[in-house]
Each structure stands twice: as C-alpha cells, then as structure tokens.
C-alpha cells in the first residue's frame, strides 16, 4: 500500500460515524423546582453549620479529655485522640461534602467548550527567540574567545571541588574498624541485660542465651560505665553474641575449630551476615537459627553455615573457653569481621 493511498483512506475513514456534538443540557430538579432548590440550599447550609458544631466539639474535647494517663482508653486509642480526631474529621468532612453538594446541585452545570492551543511556539516566535539568542551570544563573543570560555568552564568546574571536599568531615575514614570487636582473650561471656557471667553448668542442651562481652558491664576508674551511649551501641552492634548448647555429638566443627567450644557450648555472632539484623529465632531441634528480617537460616551445629536465604557467609563463631574462675570467656576476638559484607572485607 503506498503512502498516498493510506493517507487518502485515513482522511475519509477517520470518523466512520459522524460526531453528534455535545449532548444537550438536561436540567436538574434544582434547576426547575424551586422547592428542590431551597431544599438543596438548606442542606448545604446545614452541612456547613454541622461542621462548625463539630469544630466546637473538637475544641471542647481538647480541654475535657486528659492525655498521658489514659492512653489505652477506647480500644487502646486514647479518649483524647478519638474525640479530638473524630470531631476534627467530621468538621472537615462536612465542609467538603457541603461544598461539593453546593457545586452539584446549585452551581451552573452547563458544559463549556474551550479550544486547545498547541504547546509549540509559533514559527515567528521561535525565529525571534533564536535570533535574540544568537545576537546575545555573538555580542558576548563567547564563540570567538575560546580562552575566556574555557577558563570560565575550568573555574566553574573547580568550584565543584569544595562542594565535595567540604563534606569530608561528615565522618571518619573506616580504617579497619569493621574488622574488630571489643572481644579479646579472657573477656567473659555474660548474659545480656543482667551482665551475669555464665558457668558451663548453667547451660542446658538445647538452650540459647543472648550474651554480650563482660566489658559492657564494667565501670571505669571514674566510676562511670566504660561503655555507654553511642559508644556502647557501636560496640554492641559488632559484639552481640548468642550462646547455645547442643549435644556434642551433633556438632561437626570444621578444621581448627574443635576446641572453640566447651562441652557442646558454642558462641556465635548475633549479627546477620546479610544486612546486619540481630538473629534471634532458634529452632532447638534442628540447631537452626533464623533471621527475622530476611529469613537467612544458619546451622549452628555446622559452623554457622548458611542453609537457606539471602545471606552469603556463615555466622562468625567466637572461640570460647572456661576461665580460671570457672566462667565462660573468649579465647580471642572474632577471627573474621562480623555483620554484613563490605567491599574491603576481602
């Protein structure tokens, strides 16, 4: 089919059914019946009036209902919250409904036709704009004086540097901070929250205890805790651990890890190697530990190996021993970085 031919068809066939034009206006009841019109008018005014009433009730509620000691009244939502919010919502809704009722019933409803204008400028305007632009560019001489142009571009580009450099003090360089935790030889494995040290006999087979390094519960020479505030959170982010006791026969330690536990008691990092959530769902029978965030599952009887989910690395294990006083303590720091992977991790 040639181009000309197809255009010919398009012209004659564009509207196989002729446009009947905009439908004629049908009057609404409020247009022809004065009673209906007055009724609509009363409805709108009543809606606006009710809105004002609810606004007053909303303000009264603000003073009548106390907050603080009754957060759980009315379905756990708080009486103050329900009253203020409920009345405010109704006050707002009735303004909206009233305005729309007004528009639908009483305002003119004759459809109007407006012609569109093309988005594009007229050819004259475009030519004039181009001519003006050319005149301006020519007068500036930026085309004829590349020295000025290039040095200006260079100067502007250089200004980007301070914009980047000034952000340098946002934070310190990573260094190898992510590779170490506060764990070190002889540091006791203590219970989370209470800080109580743990003897091997305290642990039963199948039990999981949330643990932390003992240093979190030590006071410094000034009598203040050694770690507190931001420092504590930062240290905890890497050093949080879990202690589990399994039947020694179930455990299959990889090479070099045979002496990392005490009678089936093993200590693992609590921080998921996926994106760093604390792992806490323990399946006693299968020795599986499941991360609640993205469901990575680790087999603690098999060196923390990933057996399901998006994590790529086994859960780091902390080598532990019994110290001279009979409590569980670390043999050393973790032998690898804990938590999510990062570029320099190796």
């Amino acid at each position: 089919m040639s181009d000309v031919h197809s255009k010919e068809i398009a012209r004659t066939e564009a509207d196989p059914i002729a446009d009947p034009g905009v439908e004629s206006h049908l009057p609404r009841p409020t247009d022809v019946d004065p009673a209906a019109e007055r009724r609509a008018e009363r409805q709108v005014a009543m809606l606006f009036g009710l809105s004002a009433v609810f606004t007053v009730l909303c303000c009264v509620s603000y003073f009548v209902f106390a907050v603080g000691d009754n957060p759980d009244t009315i379905g756990g939502l708080g009486a103050s919250n329900v009253a203020i919010g409920g009345f405010l919502g109704l006050a707002l809704l009735f303004i909206g409904i009233g305005a729309i009722q007004w528009a639908r019933k009483l305002m003119g409803d004759h459809e109007m036709i407006e012609m569109r204008h093309p988005s594009v400028s007229s050819d004259e305007d475009r030519d004039e704009a181009l001519a003006a632009f050319d005149a301006g560019v020519t007068e500036s001489g930026i085309g004829r004086r590349p020295l000025i142009r290039n040095s200006l571009i260079g100067a502007m580009a250089a200004l980007g540097l301070p914009a980047v450099i000034f952000l340098r003090d946002l934070g310190p360089l990573p260094g190898n901070k992510l590779a170490h935790t506060v764990w070190k030889k002889n540091m006791r494995v203590v219970q989370d929250v209470t800080g109580v040290p743990i003897r091997p006999s305290d642990m039963q087979i199948g039990q999981l205890v949330n643990t932390e390094p003992g240093v979190f519960y030590k006071d410094g020479p000034d009598g203040e805790p050694l770690y507190h505030g931001t420092e504590l959170l930062q240290a905890k982010t890497k050093a949080a651990t879990i202690l589990v006791r399994m039947h020694p026969d179930d455990i299959t330690p990889s090479r070099g890890r045979a002496d990392w536990g005490v009678d089936g008691i093993l200590c693992f990092s609590k921080i998921c190697t996926h994106v760093g959530c604390p792992i806490s769902l323990w399946e006693q029978q299968t020795h599986h530990l499941l991360c609640p965030c993205h469901q990575s599952t680790f087999d603690l009887a098999d060196n923390g190996k990933v057996i399901f989910g998006p994590a790529a690395r086994p859960l780091p294990q902390l080598p532990i021993m019994v110290d001279s006083a009979g409590y569980l303590a670390a043999q050393s720091d973790f032998t690898e970085p804990v938590g999510p992977s990062y570029w320099e991790r190796g």
Binding site: G86, I95, D109, S296
Partner: protein
Amino acid sequence: MKTPFTSNGTKAAVAPKPNRVGAAAAWADERLGLATMAKKQIRKVFPDHWSFMLGEIALWSFVVLLLTGTFLTLWFRPSMGETVYNGSYDQLRGLEMSEAYASTLDISFDVRAGLLMRQMHHWSAMLFIAAMLVHLMRVYFTGAFRKPRELNWVIGSLLLLLGTLEGFTGYSLPDDLLSGTGIRAADGFMKSMPVVGTYMSFFLFGGEFPGDSIIPRLYTVHVLLIPGVLLALIAAHMLLLVYHKHTQWPGPGRTNDNVVGYPMLPVYAAKAGGFFFIVFGVTALMGAFLSINPVWRYGSYNPSEVTAGSQPDWYMGWPDGALRIMPGWETHLFGFTLSWNVFLPIIVLPGLMFTILLMLPFVESWITGDKRNHHLLQRPRNAPTRTALMVALMTFYGLMWAAGGNDLIAITFQLSINQITHFMRAAVFLGPVIAFIVTRRWCISLQRKDQDDLLHGYETGVIMRDPLGGYTERHLPLPTAAAYTLTARDRDEIRQLDPSTDEHGVAAKGTGKARLQARLSRWWYGHNVQKPTVAELEEAHHHVEEEDAHDAPLVGHAADGHQFDGRHDVVEGDDLAHHRD
C-alpha cells in the same frame, strides 16, 4: 478644591470600585498585572471524570503532610543524645533512650492532639504514595503520558521516587526498635556498594553505625531538602497541567482540539476545594480510629534486639521482597568482596525499575513512531500491548511485594517459608510474562466485543424463536453517542519500511534501526482490532436491516412454547407459521 492634573490633562484613570473585593483586586492588579493571566484561568475548563481525582488525592495528602508535619516539628527533638524518659507511658518510664525517641513518646502521650497529628502524618504519607501510584497507573493505562505530556510523566516519576525516600527518612526518625532495624539494614545496603560503600556508610552515620548523627541528618533531609524539591516539582507538575490543559475522554463533541467540561470558578473551585477537606477529614478520622506505628510498643533502638515480623512501610516492601528471595551470591576477587545478594536486589533493581518507569513514554513513541499531540484518552483495551506491559510490571511489583511478606504468608497460611521463597524466585520472572500474554489477549477480546456491538448492535436479552424452532437473540443498534464514542479513536499505523527500489531495481534495505522499529511496531499493534471502515459499517447496517425485516412480524408476540407442542391450540390468534417466508 482643584482638580488634580495628570500629564494628558484629564482626570487620573481610576477603575470603578464597586466593593472591597474589587478594590483589593484593583490594588493588586495595578502592581502585579494579574488580570491578563486571570482572565483566561478563572473560567478555565476542566473535563470531568472520577479517575482525574486520583492525582488530587496525592496533592491534598501532601498539603496534610505539610500541616501535620509542621505541628510535629514543634515538639520533636532530632537528637540521638541519651536521656532518661520521664513521661506518662509507664512501661518505658525511667529507661535511657535517645531524645528523638523520648520526644516521640511525649508527642504521643503528653501533647494533646500530638498522637492524632503523628498518626495523621503517617496515614497521609501512605495515602500520598498510594495515590501517586494509582494516579501513575491511570495516566499510563489511558495514554495520558503521550506527547505533549512526556515531561510531566518524568516529573511525576521523580515525585514518586522522592515521596518514597521522604517516607523512609520520616519513619526512621522516631529511633524506635523497628525504625532502627530499618536503618541498620540500610547501613548493610550501603556497605554492599562496590568501592565506595564502606565510606558512604561511615560518612552518613558520622562513624560506625549507629553513631550519633544519623537522626539529625535524616531530619534535615526529611523536613527541608526533600520537601523543598517536592514542592518545586509539584508546582511544575501543576503548571504543566494548566499549560497543556487536561486530557479528556472521547465522546460526542469532545475532540483532540477542545476541552469540554466545567469552569474552574465556581465548579472546580468548590469540587476540588471541597475534596481537600474530604481528604483532610478522612485522614483525621484515620488518625483518630486507626492506630499506626505504635512506637511505644517497640521500645528504643538496641542493635542486639529485633522483633519477629520486622517489615518496612508497604511502599518499601517490594525491594525488601527482592532482598528476601535473592540467592546468597557473593564474589571475592583480589581481596575485595562484592555482595551480589544485597547489591543487586536493593541498589541495582530499584534503579533499573525506576529507569524503566521513566522511559516508558519514550520507548513507546520510539517503537510506534507516533509524534502527534494526543489530548484524547484511550481505553486500556485499545492499547493492548501497552496495557499488558503495565500489568506485567504491576505483577512483578506485586509478587516482589508479596515476597516481602513471605514470613507473614507462611505463618498465616501455614506454609513453608522455604517453599514460598523458592516459588517466588521463579514466579517473579514467569508471572509478568503470563500476565502480559493474558492481558493482551483479554484486551483484544474486549476490542472484538466493541467491534461486534458497533457492527451488529448490542445484545438486548430478547430471545426470538422463529417458526422453525431456531432461537436468536435480538440485537439493537447502539445509540449514536455511544457508537461515536467507540469509533472516536485513531487507527493504529504499523510502521512500513520504504519499499522503493534504487536505480538497479534492488530494494533499498532499511537501516537496522528502521527494520527493528518496523518489527517492534508490528509486535506492538499487529493483533489490535481496528475500528470499522465506512464500508464495513454500511454492510453491517444492511445486514441488520435484513434481520430486522425478518424479526419484525415476530416482535411483540410473547410465546410460552405451548403453541408448538402439537397438543395445544394456538391461543393468540396468530398462526406464527405463516411468517416462514
């Protein structure tokens, strides 16, 4: 008293001042010259359709966000400094926590209307993003993104992206256990980025996670940076809407060159203004009766604690789902680690999806070669491939989103989380393909139905039995307005390669690009049903007239069936059999 003189010797030209409003308007116009613009805009015509209201929900939700958010800033302290909580909430009193969390508790329990404003703020944030998404689908499905509105599509996409980021920064601010876990995961996301990841994490957090800087920094981003850009983009979005004038559905008198509807003043001022109060009011009722993000139940952030079922807000759910179903791939090369298991689903995939979204209008016009201005909307069925493409994207989104709740699905339906995850790994690839094929065929079937109605009339539900015992259903022609509306669409033009030959009679080969475009446009349009030609309509009319002539004697004779069973007399007087010929 002397008459004051002006340069031309007559009295100063002063506009009549009929009333105070007029006086104020005159005062302003003398300084701003507003009348020139206002004369066109005050009675500007907008077309009416319920689906044009979806974007409005987003707009008004944003206003509610600004109002309630400003209220919250009056009490919220964006600080990670440690403090001891001494407020009204028993279970946490006396505990150490950050100022951010403590002030969030104060807003919830000790500031009157504070909890209401918090909940309204959170609900309207969800409404804002949900409304933007639905509005986006409306614009895509109806072809409203086509020339000249492609740039407004781009602006709208940016608004969706920024709105999502604004939501994330917002729900991270209370520094409770749930939001802290979200920031912890975000730290893991950043660290997965090759080369710069660790540095970005240390710079953003001001050191090692969690540091003491992230809350104040997110606060600045949340209340200043992103809202500023959002406001500017919303203004541009609305200005372009006014400049292009709104699209309209085809129908009698509605053409590509006009807008048929109601004037801005008074109808849309009342309707849109009233709708603001409705959105505001519904949000207030939600804040009053629907609890959201009860941070006091989660406790303050502690990097060694987490709650089961930890999930982000729903609009962050789909990348979270991608993160959950991604296999645990990691590469170690030259002493460096590349975590594909995090980098691909959470950094690359959202970027890729956003780029696809942004490019949709340009991809379509590149394929179809359509450079015309379009102001008339299309029904989704009349653009089967486009509709199918969006449904495929929606299916991908929905499956990813469901994967983001795989733990909850497992618990609710007593299923194996492992099986759900394995299923989702395949479904996110297969589902969109199936959805595409089904949707496209579905659209084409609907087009055929329209074509049937046009050519043979609509089904009346009146069953005719002719004297031979055959049954037919009576069809009646569509009303003219409905028939016109169905035909008020362009015929699709599949790109043709130039068939001309050169002087040696060898057919000129199109360039590779032209050939690809021709093939793609055939794929895009090839199966569509085109509206009937005049000849087809005439032939169909002729056919309908014949049928009518055949049916005419039968019309109005209700028959109960007993007339023809041979055991009853024909009661109704008519011997229906004589109409056989």
